[in-house]
Symmetry: C2
Subunit: 222 residues, 2 copies
């Protein structure tokens, strides 16, 4: 009898475990399908052209290439952050920061008509695109995107300094690049780039030198 | 006298700190310049065309776009890994795994002449390109790249499963994509893709379903 009870208990546990596993597996499968839908949707980031061009090139960079470059820059330059940072969080920020442009489009940082800062259009895009993910991940991604946009935490400051540094390196490699193309002057460049110092004073020292050197070289007008 | 000694000590400490700071700053500046040289060099990854095409598209994907996509896939799909993984390490792996192709070029996974596995050419490339970085970082990047290539750790297995999954999603979105273009048959696809299960059994279940479905749809020949 004891043996039978024990068998019964074993069989019950097994049935329960199997059932639990199936439910979990079903949930995972549902999650996986949602994640795959997101992975397919974000391919559109590869079509979004930026104004800035590749280093030493006439080809415009797209948002996916830009985000890849920023992620590696964040990893390589993390030691220069003013404050300790969670590198994985910074990497997530820069990898996803432009995904909203699938719906909202790219706005040039020196655009004089359209505001580059956080718009309702971008919020709607964040909700739609990150909303394809399972609930917890959607909430995490929306929150990380908002943190980047707000620019207040150490991670957001460092991520934003990477986002400002890359086009500076591109324009100085491209004989003035978009500065010359769109007639952007020293003061505006200096103002937009000085945000770099909030993430890293040492990178800002380097960036400031590059900006001043660009004036001396005649590729940036004062 | 005591006060003088104290002042002397203070002044000595200050001088020491200032000197130490200057040395550190100088080292950081040297590191920063090396890191910038690396950041500029890897821009060339954006020119390396892969055989596979963007989702629902005729345009070939380049290595930078591919690496960006894999990094986000790794973050989003990490929960499906067979074993616990260090997500940041996986992200580093996929972000850098194709950088060696700046020198060595892209070899098609179904190439029948050239070997896709780790070549001397790729090792030379890793040493040259990662070697632009400060010593510690160069060593870390070379080691991570070698770990990915060896495919033995949990992180490498998961990173490699992402690398195999993306083109599968692309080919099934593109009506057979490179399978049709290069006459690749079911058995070869099944063999190359089955590496996914080493990283994630649940993703492999999904991938296996996609492969079989592709035969039923007539976009993959058995």
């Amino acid at each position: 009898m004891c043996l039978n009870l024990s068998n019964y208990a074993l069989s019950f546990n097994f049935a329960y475990d199997e059932c639990h596993f199936k439910i979990k597996k079903k949930m995972n499968t549902k999650d996986l399908l949602d994640q795959i839908a997101f992975i397919k949707e974000i391919d559109k980031v590869k079509y979004i052209q930026r104004k800035t061009k590749l280093f030493n090139s006439d080809r415009c960079e797209n948002d996916a290439e830009h985000s890849w470059h920023l992620a590696l820059m964040a990893i390589v330059l993390a030691e220069h952050s003013n404050e300790p940072i969670d590198v994985l969080k910074v990497v997530k920020m820069v990898l996803i920061h432009d995904i909203v442009e699938i719906d909202a489009g790219d706005v040039f940082i020196y655009d004089t008509v359209k505001n580059h800062s956080n718009t309702d259009e971008e919020r709607l895009a964040a909700n739609r695109i990150f909303g394809l993910l399972p609930k917890n991940q959607a909430e995490e991604f929306i929150s990380i995107w908002e943190e980047f946009e707000a620019g207040e935490t150490n991670e957001a400051k460092f991520a934003r300094s990477m986002d400002r540094l890359e086009p500076l390196l591109q324009n100085t490699s491209n004989n003035g690049g978009t500065w010359k193309e769109f007639g952007v002057k020293y003061d505006k460049v200096y103002e937009k780039k000085s945000i770099i110092k909030e993430g890293s004073k040492s990178i800002w020292n380097y960036a400031e030198g590059l900006i001043n050197e660009s004036v001396e070289k005649g590729i940036l007008e004062k």
